[in-house]
């Protein structure tokens, strides 16, 4: 039972090791000692009321702010001060006094619970100092590295700026060159164009003459073919024998229709046939051609077969088709197939090309060819210059993009740009490419998953550059798009330390880099500054 007044005197050890007794109620920090004067009425620290001093730490809560019970659990909002000599002093909620759990390393919170606590302050202090020392060393080294990174970034920045200026200057020159070459090109292309046009025109005329002659010959031939009775006239009946000339191909080729084609007369002679030929030549089929039996509009069946797709390596219908083609062959199918594989493709079945009655265009004359060659040269020069300009533009854009990133107040994160860092876990390989993206790839096969693309710096206001946010990764089934938060801590090396997925599809990465190392306090101060007194 702990109802007794708990005013205690206890010893505090300062780092020098000599004991000093300081009288104050349990749980009160030295800084507030003056408010708790023994045997004088106590006024709640919020001023709400004044109580006799024996009600301080009497295990009953009198003050609304909990200040009368710094050493008991009586007040729901109280706090208890652990001196933790040898380690860091701290406040704990007074609900943790005598709850059977050791919270203060100096064991002072468990004075009446039966919990057996060890004083671990010295050990913790030692560990803390060691850890701080180590941290400080890392910070020290990291900070030096950071300076180098800053220098490097600065150098790079200047270099980039220099390069930029240079590129921009170059660009100007190149742009001018492109314009100049464009003019040269245009100047050279004009005579070329004219000469070519002349040549083409001549060729067109030549072709027209040849075509007319051919047509005439064809007409004569047709006349002869049509004039079955060789009476020198083509009659209605003779015309009707060529059913392809039927103007309404569905129905019968009537006499009236044939007469219509002949210009309203019953028969025509060679000279009148010229007009008739104009009407029928498009449809007319030479008898010689018709006899050959080939229907040029009907491609062979094979042509309709869809090509075998790559993803169907063994189409099942292949052998069946082959068998159909070679119905009467008695060969073993396998042998046959093997053989078939070696055969050339059946390209011969393609329809005959329509008769090429026009000869190729004659080559340009030497003069024209010279003009063409000259123009081509100017074109090549122009293209070359333009390509060079584009390259420079790309370089400028890329530098501009790089310069647009927030690489930290001193550019210390510049070195991370266009780098990638990997972490291999039992199942996955995680890849962080700062300012670009985060991804995850299963170790044993499977495709990469995008865990987010560079979003922004997302640390708290005063330390924005301690957290990176990557967003809009691959969507989750029934969930959000994947995203990753990267927490940066000071380290000598640039390493992805860990990854986790605290919430579905929201990843967390820990990443060390010298770029966030702060200048540590001098190591000397660490040796001493860590006791309360």
């Amino acid at each position: 039972m702990s109802r007794a007044c708990l005013l205690l005197a206890f010893s505090l050890y300062v780092s020098t090791g000599c004991a000093v007794e300081v009288q104050r109620p349990r749980g009160v920090p030295l800084t507030k000692r003056q408010f708790y004067e023994e045997n004088k009425p106590f006024t709640c620290l919020d001023g709400s009321r004044t109580i006799p001093f024996d009600r301080v730490n009497d295990d009953y809560c009198d003050c609304k702010d909990g200040s009368d019970e710094p050493g008991t659990a009586a007040c729901p909002n109280g706090s208890f001060h652990c001196t933790n000599a040898g380690y860091k002093p701290t406040f704990i909620p007074s609900s943790r006094i005598n709850d059977g759990i050791c919270d203060c390393c100096d064991t002072t919170d468990e004075y009446n619970s039966g919990a057996v606590c060890q004083n671990t302050c010295r050990e913790l202090g030692r560990q803390e100092r060691e850890a701080l020392q180590k941290q400080a060393e890392i910070a020290q080294e990291g900070f030096l590295l950071k300076q180098q990174l800053i220098q490097e970034a600065k150098r790079q920045q200047e270099e980039k700026q220099g390069k930029m200026t240079e590129l921009q200057n170059n660009r100007k020159t190149m742009e001018e060159k492109v314009e100049a070459l464009r003019t040269v090109k245009e100047v050279a292309e004009q005579p070329e164009k004219e000469a070519k046009e002349r040549h083409h025109k001549a060729w067109e005329e030549q072709k027209a003459i040849i075509r007319a002659e051919k047509d005439k010959a064809k007409m004569a031939e047709a006349f002869l073919e049509l004039d079955d009775d060789a009476d020198g006239f083509v009659s209605v009946a003779e015309l009707q024998s060529h059913s392809e000339l039927n103007p309404d191909s569905d129905e019968a080729f009537t006499e009236a229709e044939a007469q219509g084609l002949l210009g309203g007369v019953d028969k025509v002679d060679t000279s009148s046939f010229e007009t008739v030929w104009g009407n029928i030549k498009a449809k007319y089929v030479s008898e010689a051609q018709a006899d050959s039996g080939t229907a040029p509009t009907q491609p062979p069946a094979e042509e309709n077969r869809p090509p075998v797709r790559d993803n169907e390596p063994y189409p099942e219908d292949e052998p069946v088709d082959d068998e159909d083609e070679h119905d009467d062959e008695e060969e073993d199918e396998e042998d046959y197939n093997d053989e078939d594989d070696d055969k050339p493709p059946p390209s011969v079945r393609t329809p005959e090309k329509s008769e090429q009655d026009e000869e190729a265009m004659p080559p340009y004359d030497a003069e024209t060819q010279a003009l063409i060659d000259a123009a081509q040269k100017t074109r090549d020069d122009f293209d070359e210059a333009e390509r060079a300009l584009r390259e420079v533009d790309d370089q400028i854009k890329s530098i501009e993009k790089e310069l647009s990133f927030d690489f930290g107040p001193s550019g210390e994160f510049t070195y991370l740009y266009s780098q990638c860092y990997e972490l291999s876990t039992s199942e996955y390989i995680y890849k962080l490419c700062p300012f670009n993206r985060v991804s995850q790839k299963p170790k044993y096969g499977g495709s990469e998953t995008n865990l987010g693309s560079w979003g922004a710096w997302a640390g708290p206001e005063d330390a924005k550059h301690l957290v990176m946010k990557y967003e809009h990764g691959t969507g989750c089934w029934q969930g959000p798009n994947r995203s990753t938060t990267v927490k940066l801590t000071c380290g000598k090396e640039t390493v992805v330390m860990s990854t986790s997925e605290p919430s579905r599809c929201e990843y967390l990465m820990e990443f060390t880099t010298p770029a966030v190392c702060q200048k540590p306090p001098s190591l000397d101060s660490l040796q001493h500054g860590h006791t309360e007194l």
Binding site: R3, A74, D99, C476, E501
Partner: protein, 929 residues
């Protein structure tokens, strides 16, 4: 935990859509329900053969005959101690025994003598005990039972002629043709030779109905080797307009009429994203219904574990309030009446009629049959932090630390299925949880506990010890062809242990021994999920009905499977401690009697306001049928709650029996501190309110355990004559002294609460403001808390020193909140024990005090003088609400009188007595002068 992620079964709809109803049967799609429901009320074909009447001291038997098919039934009537009547109907000579539900009743219910009052050709009158002038009238033609008290009919059975008993029969076609080729049954039936006259009519009438010998739902065929076996009986309740119970349904507290709609269905099912306000079956089934009116409360317990449907109709259902009033004024009204009809697929008719007459009597009667709520360890009544899943040991440690950093208490952290090695229960994922004992020790160091999930589906894997042992001992449920039944669940292909076998349960329990369950420790407890059982590729996501439990079919046992799983698991936790420690096991599936084994939650709900709202009637309904340790996933399982909803849910959950936050794998994290300092503070305050009230909660569970009274109660239970309370399910009582009206509307600025009780007063638990009873009250609300009232006339003990966990608070002092009635009296109790062992029972190690305030004296009296338990706890403060300002306050104890200091706040009439300091277990008197 629930279904998701697996790309199996057509169950998986998008998250924005609710349940896929097509996966679950309607009555019309369930052949026996369709057959039975096609039978309309009318003249019953059953006749009582009075000449067969046999009366022994404890029972009456009587044969019934169906005049249509001449099949005889045997009726047994029992008068049970405690004002109950049991009615059993079975076939007189079944072809083979019909299934009777084992293990649910705590014992063979003790009987009382029945006596014959009179008998004639029309029937028999039996006395049900002289004290109440209750009689049981058996009418012969047609058969009908009426229970009357004095001149009043309390209940009638078969009054609508819906008794229907499908007797076991030989399949005709298979008899004629063993190969079972489908010959025309109709014709065969019609051409039946005359000598089998008895069955001819039945043959013609019944055999042509579809689905009697086989039925197919979606792609699943039920082979039905026993043919039609269903049973049905109707009950009429004159004077009753309100019926409750038959959980589990996501519906209002007051049951609705089912005319023209679907009946309420009782069939344990894993329903993905269940829909609210409908009678579809859910995870658990308790076939118990309560009927209530202003003068009497009764109960019906239909002891049958097969698929069951319940139809409810009412002669006043269609009437408006005005219409009813008109009837009343004109005196023209017929008596209001509710008619109920139960239909089950197999087994026998075995009904317990609990005649009350008070709600409390009915609870006691039902508890005498199926037992009371297990007394949970006090930690189980504290706050539980769950998520599917805490990823690994580091995650668990970080969450644990988070609670301390934000000064929010919690007692249990939970691990869902991902903690296992490939969903092999009783194992740990070697990468994520390599050192479970270290983790448990770290939690133990904080005086906290853990729950890990153990589901009943067992991965079929020859490298898995549990599977091998179950298979080798032949403990798996069999499929219809005799092989081990296999279904698809979390681990992929899985077997289902036959928990209906006692040897199997014994073995299962032994698996929880510390040397069997590797990595377990005494602060690790268990959660049984998916025990409907859930079979992802089974009919209606559960087991085939023709699967075999020994000679019985799964059809017979279905609703009992989850009950057995929890029973065996709880037994395991008891046995691992040598019978000393109380177990804590959460289950999703349940049946009548499941209250004996632990806690139940309402399954996979969703982060929606309506789901918060429905958590109240769902837990109230469970409480009415014995299962008090009920809760809903705080925050909602599926989807992501708005911050407001999350806070409101914490505030509500803090005042519901089982208080656990849970979340789906795919939702963003929602530990209480992730929503800004303001909301963290609101949630902290809600959880702290729970912890201050733990003494009261614990005492209520002691009461539930010892008396069967529900912890979370509808208002009508305490105010049975106040018809204004009969439909209420937006507020509730904890015990009889705390009234809670949760805020379940988004953006609410106030709620209208009803404070019951003519001539009573209620005190706002936060402001101590006094309100009169029997009024509706508009209470403005802010986000800071929900309205809670303490009944004038009650004394509630609290512990105001909220610590990290309940066990850190065990020795802390109490503050007594004495709320005076208008007569300036108050009563309450204080119960204290070690909080976690059976010693309260086995060694009488507890403190049980009666606290009374009368004549300006508050006194503590020992309710168990033979008990011995020494608690260091003391009384640090007494707060008297509705008090006057005394001159003096004296404490009398051990013959000494001490003057105590006090303060009086005249603005709210609250007297605070400073540090009286008496030991909680002592006799004392506190006098206001």
């Amino acid at each position: 935990m629930g279904l998701l992620v697996l790309a199996c079964v057509s169950l998986f709809v998008t998250s924005s859509v609710a349940v896929d109803r097509g996966n679950f049967k309607t009555c019309d799609q369930s052949a026996f329900c369709k057959r039975q429901r096609a039978l309309k009320a009318g003249q019953s074909p059953y006749r009582a053969l009075l000449e067969t009447l046999e009366l022994s001291d404890s029972r009456v038997t009587l044969q019934l005959i169906n005049d249509n098919n001449k099949v005889r039934l045997l009726l047994e009537l029992y008068r049970l101690q405690g004002n109950m009547t049991r009615v059993k109907i079975n076939e007189l000579k079944p072809l083979k025994p019909r299934f009777e539900v084992p293990d649910v009743l705590v014992s063979d219910p003790p009987t009382e003598p029945l006596s014959l009052v009179s008998q004639d050709d029309n029937g028999v009158v039996l006395s049900l005990g002289a004290a109440r002038q209750q009689r049981l009238i058996v009418s012969a033609r047609p058969f009908r039972l009426d229970i009357v008290e004095g001149p009043e009919v309390l209940m009638s059975l078969n009054s609508r002629g819906l008794l229907a008993f499908e007797h076991l029969r030989v399949r005709k076609d298979t008899q004629a043709n063993p190969e079972g080729t489908e010959t025309k049954e109709n014709v065969d039936g019609a051409e039946e030779p005359v000598e089998v006259k008895e069955t001819a009519e039945e043959g013609a009438k019944d055999e042509d109905v579809d689905g009697m010998w086989e039925e197919t739902f979606k792609s699943h065929t039920d082979s039905k080797p026993n043919g039609p076996t269903s049973i049905s009986l109707d009950f009429s309740l004159p004077g009753v307009e309100h019926v409750y119970g038959i959980p589990e349904h996501a519906d209002n507290l007051k049951l609705k009429t089912t005319d023209g709609g679907e009946p309420y269905r009782l069939y344990n099912l894993d329903v993905f994203q269940y829909e609210l306000y409908n009678p579809m079956a859910l995870y658990g089934a308790v076939p118990v219904m309560l009927a209530h009116n202003a003068v009497r409360t009764m109960g019906l317990f239909w002891l049958n574990a097969a698929e069951t449907w319940v139809d409810i109709s009412s002669n006043t259902a269609g009437k408006t309030v005005f219409g009813k009033m008109l009837d009343y004024v004109q005196g023209a009204s017929e008596t209001p009446q509710t008619d109920v009809r139960w239909i089950s697929e197999s087994g026998i008719i075995d009904v317990f009629i609990m005649l009350g007459p008070t709600p409390s009597d009915v609870f006691a009667q039902y508890a005498s049959l199926t037992g009371t709520q297990s007394f949970p360890p006090i930690a189980a009544l504290a706050y539980h932090q769950c998520r599917w899943n805490y990823n690994d040991q580091e995650d668990v440690q970080a969450v644990d630390k988070g609670f301390d950093e934000h000064d929010i208490p919690y007692d249990f952290i939970w691990l869902d299925i991902e903690h296992t090695d490939g969903k092999r229960y009783f194992t740990w994922d070697p990468h994520k949880f390599p050192n479970p004992k270290d983790m448990l020790q770290n939690i133990k160091d904080k005086r906290r506990k853990m729950v890990a999930i153990v589901d009943p589906h067992i991965k079929v894997d020859s490298g898995y010890k549990i599977h091998n042992e179950i298979r080798n001992q032949n403990f798996y449920i069999k499929n219809k062809d005799g092989g081990d039944y296999e279904g698809w669940c979390w681990p992929g292909s899985a077997g289902y242990p036959d928990f209906t076998k006692v040897e199997m349960r014994d073995w299962w329990a032994s698996m929880f021994a510390y040397d069997q369950y590797e990595g377990s420790m005494e602060n690790l407890y268990t959660w049984n999920d998916m025990n409907e059982p859930s079979v992802f590729n089974g009919p209606e996501v559960t087991m085939h009905k023709d699967a075999k439990h020994g000679d019985w079919e799964h059809r017979d046992f279905h609703n009992l499977y989850g009950f057995y799983v929890q029973m065996a698991t709880a037994d395991g936790l008891i046995r691992r401690s040598g019978g000393v420690e109380r177990p804590f096991v959460l289950t999703r599936a349940f049946f009548a009697g499941s209250q004996r084994y632990g806690a139940v939650w309402t399954g996979d709900n969703a982060a929606e306001w309506d789901h918060l709202k429905i958590s109240i009637p769902m837990c109230l309904s469970l409480g009415l049928v014995g299962i008090s340790l009920c809760g809903a996933d705080v925050g909602g399982f599926f989807k992501t709650p708005s911050t407001e909803l999350l806070v409101r849910w914490y505030q509500t959950g803090a005042y519901q029996p089982f208080f656990r936050a849970h979340a789906h794998l795919d939702t963003p994290r929602r530990e209480p501190w992730l929503f800004g300092p303001e909301n963290t503070a609101l949630i902290r305050e809600a959880v702290r309110q729970r912890y201050t009230l733990l003494p009261y909660w614990y005492q209520q569970f002691y009461l539930a355990h010892t008396t069967g009274q529900p912890v979370m109660r509808p208002l009508w239970v305490e105010y049975p004559k106040d018809s204004a309370t009969f439909n209420m399910d937006d507020q509730f009582l904890i015990g009889k002294d705390l009234l809670v009206h949760p805020v379940t509307e988004e953006g609410a600025r106030g709620v209208t609460a009803y404070l019951p009780g003519h001539g009573e007063v209620w005190y706002d638990a936060h402001t101590f403001q006094k309100h009169n009873g029997a009024q509706s009250l508009y209470i403005p609300v802010t986000m800071s808390s929900i309205p809670v009232f303490q009944r004038g006339g009650s004394i509630i003990p609290r512990k105001l020193r909220v610590r990290r966990s309940s066990s850190c608070m065990e020795s802390d002092p109490y503050t007594l909140y004495v709320a005076l009635s208008p007569q300036r009296t108050a009563e309450g109790e204080l119960y204290i024990d070690d909080g976690h062992t059976f010693n309260f029972n086995t060694k009488k190690e507890f403190v049980h005090r009666s606290l009374t305030f009368a004549n300006n004296v508050l006194s503590s009296r020992n309710l168990c003088p033979e008990c011995r338990f020494s608690s260091p706890a003391w009384i640090e403060k007494v707060v008297i609400l509705g008090s006057s300002n005394p001159r003096k306050v004296n404490l009398k104890m051990d013959g000494k009188e001490t003057a105590l200091e006090f303060e009086f706040d005249a603005s709210v009439s609250v007297l605070t007595v400073r540090k009286p300091g008496m030991s909680a277990g002592a006799d004392w008197m506190l006098q206001l002068l």
